[in-house]
Point group: C2
Chain length 311, copies 2
């Protein structure tokens, strides 16, 4: 989340003045590498205080689909040259072992992200892990979950921004809020997790679709935000749209924003069964966590909110 990726900008880090002082982290996976990358990302969250002012600088390098020892050793050698830390997820125990011993040989500090949790689960289940990486042949990728996820994504795209209000009752989750409270990215994030999401923008002077009040209980969530933060986001939005007339002229004026938030606040007050979530300062995945905690909570009678799944 704190990442300033140069990957889109396309500037090679080699040309950069920082390159000499920045520390490298190599990430190696026999699969997609997303697990290693995600783990490094959240762990780097613990070093935000020194990353923001570039008191420390980090370059990460992701190597995915690494399934033979030769490639692996090549990467470890390169990591040694760069003085990098190596983070790996390798399902095949002989590959994990090879990584460990190559790192020892070339004095590369390393950490196994998959091994410890796999071992913990293995002894918990009293079952040996397969040792087969993600891409191993013979797997059936056309699972029920695959189809459900795709359906959820397609549904969510079609419902975006108040389109097809007649379909609101088909959604698992309905998000309600004024423009720029993050309804669209939040909808998409939840859709990826398999939930059909609809979002309904609240705009002063435009009537709320009546079908919203026919949606089943526990599905609707209101989003609210601090007006000053909302103004910042709307100004950025208006700028990126280049004033093409797509946005109202008073869209990012503070008086208008306050009035609009009051208007939506009244609607929320009239519908006390809709939980209202404060999104100020929250990343999309954080708001998603709050939504899903509440969504699953109403279905169960546990003392502590939890999200349960069966495998």
């Amino acid at each position: 989340d704190l990442a300033h990726s140069d990957s889109l900008a396309g500037s090679g880090e080699e040309d950069d003045v920082d390159a000499t002082t920045a520390k490298s982290i190599y990430m190696v996976s026999d699969g997609t590498g997303w697990t290693a990358e995600h783990s490094v990302n959240v762990a780097l969250g613990q070093f935000e205080h020194c990353l923001v002012d570039r008191g420390c600088a980090v370059n990460t390098h992701l190597f995915s689909g690494i399934d033979d020892v030769e490639q692996l050793v090549e990467i470890v050698k390169q990591a040694a040259k760069e003085g990098a830390l190596l983070v790996y997820t390798l399902a095949d125990p002989s590959m994990a072992e090879a990584s460990k011993s190559a790192c020892k040989l070339w004095s590369v500090p390393s950490i196994d992200v998959l091994g410890p949790i796999t071992e913990a689960i293995a002894s918990h289940l009293s079952v040996s892990p397969s040792g087969l990486p993600r891409g191993a042949p013979g797997r059936n990728s056309l699972t029920e979950e695959y189809f459900r996820r795709i359906e959820a994504i397609e549904f969510t795209i079609k419902q975006d921004d108040g389109a097809l209000p007649d379909n609101l009752n088909k959604a698992d989750i309905v998000l309600v809020g004024v423009s720029r409270t993050g309804k669209t990215p939040l909808s998409i994030y939840l859709a990826q997790m398999g939930y059909k999401v609809a979002n309904v923008p609240i705009v002063m002077g435009i009537e709320v679709p009546r079908t919203l009040f026919q949606v089943g209980p526990g599905k609707i969530f209101g989003l609210t935000i601090n007006p000053v933060v909302l103004q910042t986001i709307r100004k950025a939005r208006a700028k990126s749209l280049g004033f093409h007339g797509e946005v109202k002229s008073n869209y990012s004026e503070m008086d208008y924003i306050r009035e609009e938030l009051e208007y939506v606040g009244k609607i929320f007050a009239q519908n006390p069964s809709w939980p209202v979530i404060e999104v100020t300062g929250k990343a999309i995945e954080e708001t998603a966590a709050v939504v899903l905690r509440l969504y699953h909570d109403r279905k169960q009678k546990h003392c502590m909110p939890r999200i349960s799944k069966r495998y």
Copy 2:
């Protein structure tokens, strides 16, 4: 990926016959819990052989936003009662320590997902971790990355399914393929990572938008798929649409599918600079990994394909 979640179906696992034999995994985080859940998910991939035939069964329970010791101890006690494994990510070292000792006290097997990688990075950078969880106050969530990601998602939604062909040149990545090769979910997955993606469906008898041939080099990716698998997906699609006339009658006929794949194959052959990715048997995130590996590869002159970022 192998998950059969009951969370949407809404059936409480308590009512289930499996509940007595299934092993529980508790996941606890002071943040969203997505890291713990993701780690458990990929690790469970190593037990697919016994999960598919329910030779072993697993129930997971996610507790997110756990930021005080009392809640934590409550969860550990509950885990002890259920004989669960506890997987945790707790940024505050005193919380992590409390988790560890409570687990020891109540004989709950446990594993710390965040601690080891944070320590490895700490000693690599010679910087102490902040110990502050994700939701700690004072963070600025309105980063450049936040805005870029939202812009990418909104762009991608608008371009979906060949809409706005005049905007193709504004995309970072353009996906080309016949219907049901997973262009939409793949586009959305990449959009979440900050890439503006457009996708162009190839349909026999409908001309390919000419703007596609004006897109810069290295941006276009062809998707291809095994015809038998495609037929399975299309049949499922036709079924879920309920034959509402939205799909052509020959849409999932094998002759038509073969002809269409031949047609797109010719287009790919005429454009040898477009990498063609076989999506058969691949999960969306796996195809995404291949696309991004190729996408970043053309920008650099390394012996081994890598994706580099700067923090």
